[in-house]
């Protein structure tokens, strides 16, 4: 097999000019390559700052959801991971009841699982309905769009410091509902284009349910 291939190409190989540079992997590349974008010799600070800026920019896009492709084009999972861990920590049940298995507050793992499994289920549903969007793009968008709800969670925690009255409950309720609407609106603004127009309602319903469960976790969280 190899013989045949070799003889077939022998004549051709003799014609190949032998001039040229020998490049050996592992050695420094020729100077032309330095013109290209290289992050090897830049300070770590710059690298980190660039990524942080990219993540921050995406957060901004969620808060101000105009039709932008940034979230879809340059997806990353840093933002969702940060938001998820932050929410799980904030929603963790109080430590006073460690002797019991579960004090009624959501566990870290529970929030974590709801967040990721929910996003995966919504994404699979989008794919099954015939949406043309990649798996991680959708996860990225869904993850980033939890940001308004995270803000609501922080505000709720601050409100919870005061003594609880019905008025304060209503305040928390309104904050969470607004954040929920915002999240749902932002995610549909980003994801709507990828769906066939006649099936948008079917794709939006699981998204609605996903954010509903998360916002309900937030509003039902009363431990200070």
């Amino acid at each position: 097999m190899a013989d045949v291939e070799f003889h077939g190409q022998e004549g051709m190989m003799n014609d190949v000019s032998l001039e040229g540079e020998i490049t050996v992997p592992g050695l420094a590349q020729s100077e032309d390559d330095d013109d290209q974008f290289s992050t090897l010799d830049e300070p770590v600070k710059e690298t980190v700052m660039r990524d942080v800026k990219a993540v921050g920019q995406k957060f901004f896009h969620v808060l101000y959801p105009k039709t932008s492709r940034v979230l879809l084009k340059e997806w990353d999972l840093w933002g969702p991971l940060i938001l998820c861990v932050f929410m799980a920590m904030m929603l963790q049940g109080s430590s006073e009841h460690l002797d019991k298995m579960n004090d009624g507050g959501p566990q870290f793992a529970e929030v974590f699982v709801i967040y990721w499994v929910g996003a995966v289920v919504v994404t699979l549903n989008t794919k099954l309905l015939g949406g043309n969007i990649s798996f991680f793009q959708s996860i990225c968008v869904l993850g980033y769009c939890v940001f308004p709800l995270t803000v609501a969670l922080v505000v709720c925690r601050i409100v919870l410091i005061a003594d609880q009255t019905t008025a304060l409950f209503i305040v928390r309720f309104i904050i969470v509902v607004v954040a929920f609407a915002w999240s749902t609106f932002a995610s549909t603004a980003f994801l709507a284009d990828s769906q066939p127009s006649n099936r948008k309602a079917l794709a939006v319903y699981p998204i609605f349910l996903f954010y509903f469960v998360i916002s309900w976790l937030i509003i039902s969280h009363t431990h200070t």
């Binding site: 009624g104 794919k127 015939g130 409950f169 006649n198």
Partner: protein
């Protein structure tokens, strides 16, 4: 580094003497085992073209082997990725319009009188899946409202487990029965039918949790009888038209009705009981007890009670 430099010198020497080294190949395969052979053989600088040819053959052989390895590795990876690939197999069952889903949800409450004509059952999974996810969310809501506690695991896991176990388990059981009793229903049709039937459960759970009027369960039983009964009748109607033989009909219908109605009872009483006890024990109105404020105040007390009970045991 010194090694690489040495290699480079060797290769330069070889390049000046023999004409058949494909430099691109050398560059592409730095990690291959036989590259050391390749280099060392060319360090004997007076070897001729023939030797170069032999080595080239070896190199090509190596290339082929590497390609084979790559192929098999790719197959393995694609097998692992198969789950994701299987999405396409499921896609036909998600091919619905919002209108259809809406009408199917509505029709799941409206029993049709069995006639000689077979009643149609869709083979669709979008509706049932969404109904089950809604039910999971509602169950979570109900559990939190009832201050339900799970000793091991989470509320979420329990709700997930209960709903999906019921769906798959009951479908498998009914499928087995319908196979035995010669009912003309496929597994997918059964799953779809049971899934849409659960929409009634969702309504009952929602209404039972939100409008929790009194300590007795009259309201719940009313809902159970009306809504649960309607969805059950709908399914019974489908099965009756698709089964021949009186005994077989009775067996399958009884199984479906029992599973369906008992599951609703289970959902209500397993996760709803505690709120009753709470509201009775503390004399607070049941309606207020639903909201989370009250349990906050009560919780230390409940914890103390539990501790006391545990200590007593």
């Amino acid at each position: 580094m010194a090694d690489t430099l040495g290699d480079r010198r060797n290769q330069q020497g070889a390049a000046s003497q023999s004409a058949v080294i494909d430099l691109n190949d050398v560059e592409e395969m730095p990690d291959r085992d036989d590259s050391s052979d390749y280099d060392s053989s060319f360090s004997d600088s007076d070897r001729g073209k023939k030797k170069g040819m032999g080595d080239d053959i070896r190199q090509r052989l190596g290339e082929n082997v590497a390609a084979m390895m790559w192929q098999s590795g790719k197959q393995q990876a694609s097998k692992a990725w198969n789950l994701y690939g299987n999405i396409d197999i499921l896609r036909p069952y998600f091919n619905v319009e919002p209108r259809e889903v809406r009408s199917r949800l509505m029709w799941s409450f409206i029993p049709q009188k069995p006639t000689s004509q077979r009643q149609r059952v869709s083979r669709e999974l979008y509706g049932p899946l969404m109904v089950i996810f809604t039910m999971i969310a509602l169950l979570l809501f109900q559990m939190k409202t009832a201050d339900h506690r799970v000793e091991e695991g989470t509320l979420m896991g329990t709700a997930f487990g209960v709903c999906f176990t019921y769906w798959f388990g009951a479908s498998a059981f009914i499928w087995f029965l319908s196979f035995v009793c010669n009912t003309r229903l496929s597994m997918l049709q059964i799953m779809s039918m049971l899934g849409y039937g659960l929409f009634g459960h969702c309504m009952v759970i929602l209404l039972g949790t939100v409008i929790h009027t009194s300590h007795d369960h009259v309201f719940f039983y009313l809902l159970w009888a009306v809504i649960g009964g309607a969805t059950t009748l709908k399914m019974v109607g489908i099965i009756v038209t698709r089964t021949s033989g009186q005994t077989q009909r009775i067996i399958v219908c009884a199984a479906v009705a029992a599973l369906h109605l008992l599951f609703l009872l289970y959902l209500h009483f397993a996760y709803h009981q505690i709120v009753e006890d709470l509201s009775q024990a503390f004399g607070s109105g049941g309606v207020q007890a639903q909201m989370k404020e009250v349990p906050v105040a009560i919780k230390p007390g409940v914890g103390g009670l539990e501790k006391a009970v545990k200590a007593a045991i």
